[in-house]
Each structure stands twice: as structure tokens, then as C-alpha cells.
């Protein structure tokens, strides 16, 4: 070492490393005080995240548009004509409309299944550099949100409440690698386990080989005891690829999850489910094929042309 006080420096380094190893050991042994420290931090952070979400919203929408430049080229071309003030207003309005639309669709879904839900705004997305897939919402224990409650959007299952604090809650998204949910193929009683894989594509492991699954089959949440962590009947996703490898004990498939996780603005926490299982009632309607008009042209040679 090129710095004086070598012994003291080494001692400090050893103390710091031992402290961190001590923290890791305590956490892995499930000591509650460390959970309390994290919960306390989240309670302190919650107002800052709410304020940050409001301030950052226009920039976030702008960045989202830039990221999806190919998809929104026409819209961007149109927006180019507007001046800066109108663009800012438009983005704010767009954000509010999107949230309203999401809220409407999620309440519609919950209404069809007679779920009692609590709508909440997404105030923070977990850092990707931590390799987790989480969001934070602005509703917590003071609004009745508890751990292991189902979280839905208008499209279907979003995730589950991982931790709840007084005014906020941490949601583990269905895309998280740790996420697992029991599912049923709509219209059948065939069941399986769906696991998150870090992207919108999840992996399905069926529990038997009795029935062949096919691309396009819709998956619904099976539900849990006392409806926690999952209420039954929530649409989860649609099978996009089936792995029929010879010799495999059980079928597996790739599932495209329904919600658009990168654009979550408003979600709902299911506080309680109805007495009756909604069954297949929440299966989303299949997209209608767009009618393409057929134009038939009849060409009749003119008599003058034929005589020449």
C-alpha cells in the first residue's frame, strides 16, 4: 500500500468487511430488525418517490417515445409540428388519459369477477441493475393493502404484494424470476405452474401430459387458499410456443403475459374476491380480424380496339 498508516487502514478494512458479512449472516438467518430497517427506509422514501413520479412523468413519457421510436414514428412526426408548450401539455394530457384508460379497464375486469379492488398509482419502478422486477404503488396498509394480495391491471395479472408499508407497497411483478403462480388452461381443467423469467415471456410447466396444449390457449390464475396470494380466474397470458420435446415428463410452454409491464401507470390490488369462482368469465375476447376490402376490376376490351 502506498499510503501511510498501513496497519490502521487494514484494521478498518477488516472491520468494514466483517460488518458487512455480519449483516449478510443476520439477513440470511431472517433477523426481523433488518426487515424493519428496509421498511422504515421505504416509508421515508415514499413521499420523495411520489413527488419524483409527478415531476419526472413528462420526461419519462418522452423517453418512452424515444425508446419506441419505430412504433410511434407517425405520432412523433405529428408532434414535431407543435411548439414546446403544446407538446408539454399534450404529454401531460396523454399521461392522464392513459392512466384513466388503465383505471377504467381494470375496474371493468374487477367488476366482471365481483372483486373488491383498490386502485393505486405506480410511483416507482425497481432498479433494473438489481435484477428484480418490482414496482411501488401509492397505497399501503392504511388503505387495507396487505402482503400476498393479488395485483391486477386491465389486461390481467400484474403481480403480488411483496411488502406493504403505511402509504405504499412493493409489488413483485409476474416477470420477476422469483415469481410463481398456479394456472389453469381456460376451458379445461389442465393445470400447471407459471414462472417469471425476467421478460414478458414466462415459462409454463404443465403437471401432466394428458392433454396437448396449443399456441393461443389462454391461461387463468387457479387461485389460492383464502384467495391469497392469488384470486381465481384472473387472465395471466396466452401460450405463444409449445415445447414438445420427445422424452420430456411434462409439457412445457412459453407464455406471453397479458399486461404491458413497461407502461403500468395504474393498477388495482384485489382486497377481496367474490364468493363464486368466475371460472372462464374473464377470458379476454380474441382479437377480431380486420376486414380487408377486396377490389375486383373487370376490364372489357373496347370494340374499336378489337377491330384494329
Amino acid at each position: 500500500m502506498r499510503y501511510g498508516g498501513e496497519g490502521r487502514s487494514r484494521l478498518l478494512l477488516i472491520i468494514l468487511i466483517v460488518t458487512s458479512l455480519f449483516l449478510i449472516t443476520l439477513d440470511l438467518r431472517g433477523v426481523k430488525i433488518l426487515d424493519g430497517v428496509r421498511s422504515g427506509t421505504q416509508n421515508v422514501l415514499s413521499p420523495f418517490q411520489k413527488a419524483g413520479s409527478t415531476v419526472v412523468s413528462p420526461f419519462r413519457d418522452f423517453l418512452g417515445d424515444v425508446t419506441h421510436l419505430g412504433r410511434t414514428r407517425n405520432e412523433i412526426e405529428k408532434l414535431k409540428a407543435d411548439n414546446a408548450r403544446l407538446r408539454s401539455k399534450l404529454l401531460e394530457r396523454k399521461s392522464a388519459d392513459a392512466q384513466l384508460s388503465q383505471l377504467k379497464s381494470v375496474l371493468d375486469l374487477a367488476g366482471r369477477a365481483s372483486y373488491k379492488v383498490l386502485a393505486a398509482r405506480v410511483i416507482s419502478h425497481g432498479s433494473s441493475t438489481s435484477f428484480t422486477q418490482t414496482i411501488t404503488i401509492d397505497a399501503g396498509t392504511s388503505s387495507g393493502v396487505r402482503q400476498n394480495m393479488t395485483v391486477i391491471s386491465g389486461e390481467g395479472l400484474v403481480g403480488v404484494v411483496k411488502e406493504s408499508y403505511s402509504d405504499s407497497a412493493l409489488i413483485m411483478l409476474a416477470t420477476d424470476p422469483d415469481f410463481k403462480v398456479g394456472v389453469r388452461i381456460a376451458g379445461t381443467q389442465q393445470i400447471g405452474i407459471l414462472s417469471g423469467s425476467g421478460s414478458k415471456r414466462a415459462e409454463l410447466q404443465l403437471l401432466d401430459n394428458q392433454k396437448i396444449v396449443k399456441v393461443g390457449d389462454v391461461l387463468l390464475a387457479r387461485g389460492s387458499t383464502n384467495n391469497r396470494p392469488f384470486v381465481p380466474g384472473i387472465p395471466v397470458g396466452v401460450i405463444s410456443a409449445v415445447d414438445n420435446s420427445a422424452g420430456s415428463i411434462a409439457q412445457s410452454a412459453t407464455v406471453m403475459l397479458y399486461p404491458n409491464f413497461s407502461a403500468l401507470g395504474v393498477v388495482s390490488v384485489v382486497l377481496s374476491a367474490g364468493k363464486n369462482n368466475p371460472g372462464d368469465a374473464l377470458v379476454p375476447a380474441a382479437p377480431q380480424p380486420t376486414t380487408v376490402p377486396t377490389v375486383t376490376i373487370f376490364a372489357t376490351p373496347s370494340p374499336s380496339a378489337s377491330t384494329k
Binding site: 458487512s20 449483516l23 433488518l34 441493475t129 438489481s130 435484477f131 418490482t134 411488502e163 420477476d176
Partner: protein, 173 residues
């Protein structure tokens, strides 16, 4: 002296942690974004003595562990940041190529940031943490490397000034 510097550094990194959690995480940057506490701690360490570097790593790592989005065990980031910042400070301290040349400093911080993330994944796997598929982890790490190269030149002048104000005339970039 060290206690005063430790206290002020703690406040600085608390502010950085707040900015990360309430602003940067909200932006949903492409490629997974970047971690401001990680980059600033490594830049700070590159300008410091190994002792201060290790302390910086401890403070910033502890705040990173407090984040709800951290899926590692409490102390996981702390341990890695102590080692990373100590290593960066050890390489950087007294080396004019690092302290006098911003490009070397940026490359040192960026590569240290990537290595720290790789170490986080490897040790996390050993501790039983799930990180998803390999492709996604690779994209996140590569995205972080690109962001580190872009962001470090922007934060370097600010960190240098702050470091100089706190620790005296040790940094000259």
C-alpha cells in the same frame, strides 16, 4: 478528521440515494439504466486514499442495500462496494495517470462498475438469489457499462469539486 469526513460523506450519499430512488428509477431508461450511488462511489474512491475508499464503499453499499428494489441479502452490496471502492482507490491513489487524466478515470470507473455488477450476480447466485435468464443479465450489465461511460464524464467534475471541498487539495482532475 475521519469522523467528520465520514459524516459529511454519509449525507452526500444519502442525497444521491434519494435522487436514485425518486428520480432516476422513475425514468425507466433503456438498457436497464444506471446506478448513481455505484458510479459516484467509484468515482469518489478513485480520488481517495484506500481507507477513505473502503469507507465510501461501506456508506454507498449500505444505502444500496436499503433500496427496496435490491434483491440481494442486506450487506451484499455493502461487502461488494467496500471491496470495489478499496480496489479502485488502491489503483487510483498516487497514480497520476488516474488522478490527472479524466479518460483513464472514466475507464477505471466504468470497468469497475461492470466488474462490480458481475461480482454481484456471481455472489448472488452463490447466495441463492434468482436473476432471470442469462441474456437479460448480460443486457443489463452491458447497458450499465454504456450508461457508465456516458454518465461518468458528467458527474466527474462535480464529484471532483465536492471531494476537494471535503478532503482538501487531493484531487486535481
Amino acid at each position: 478528521m475521519l469522523v467528520r469526513q465520514f459524516s459529511i460523506s454519509s449525507l452526500v450519499f444519502l442525497l444521491i440515494f434519494l435522487i436514485q430512488e425518486s428520480v432516476i428509477n422513475q425514468l425507466r431508461l433503456p438498457g436497464g439504466g444506471f446506478s448513481l450511488p455505484l458510479l459516484i462511489a467509484l468515482t469518489w474512491a478513485a480520488l481517495s486514499t484506500p481507507t477513505v475508499g473502503a469507507l465510501t464503499g461501506f456508506i454507498s453499499g449500505f444505502f444500496m442495500d436499503l433500496s427496496q428494489s435490491s434483491n440481494g441479502a442486506m450487506g451484499h452490496w455493502t461487502l461488494l462496494m467496500i471491496l470495489a471502492c478499496y480496489a479502485v482507490a488502491f489503483l487510483g491513489f498516487g497514480n497520476d495517470n488516474v488522478r490527472g487524466n479524466p479518460i483513464t478515470n472514466i475507464l477505471l470507473v466504468s470497468s469497475a462498475s461492470v466488474l462490480t455488477l458481475v461480482a454481484f450476480v456471481v455472489t448472488g447466485v452463490l447466495l441463492g438469489v434468482s436473476f432471470g435468464n442469462f441474456g437479460r443479465v448480460l443486457v443489463t450489465i452491458l447497458g450499465n457499462a454504456i450508461w457508465a461511460i456516458l454518465v461518468t464524464p458528467l458527474i466527474l467534475p462535480l464529484v471532483t469539486r465536492l471531494h476537494r471541498a471535503l478532503f482538501g487539495n487531493q484531487a486535481h482532475i
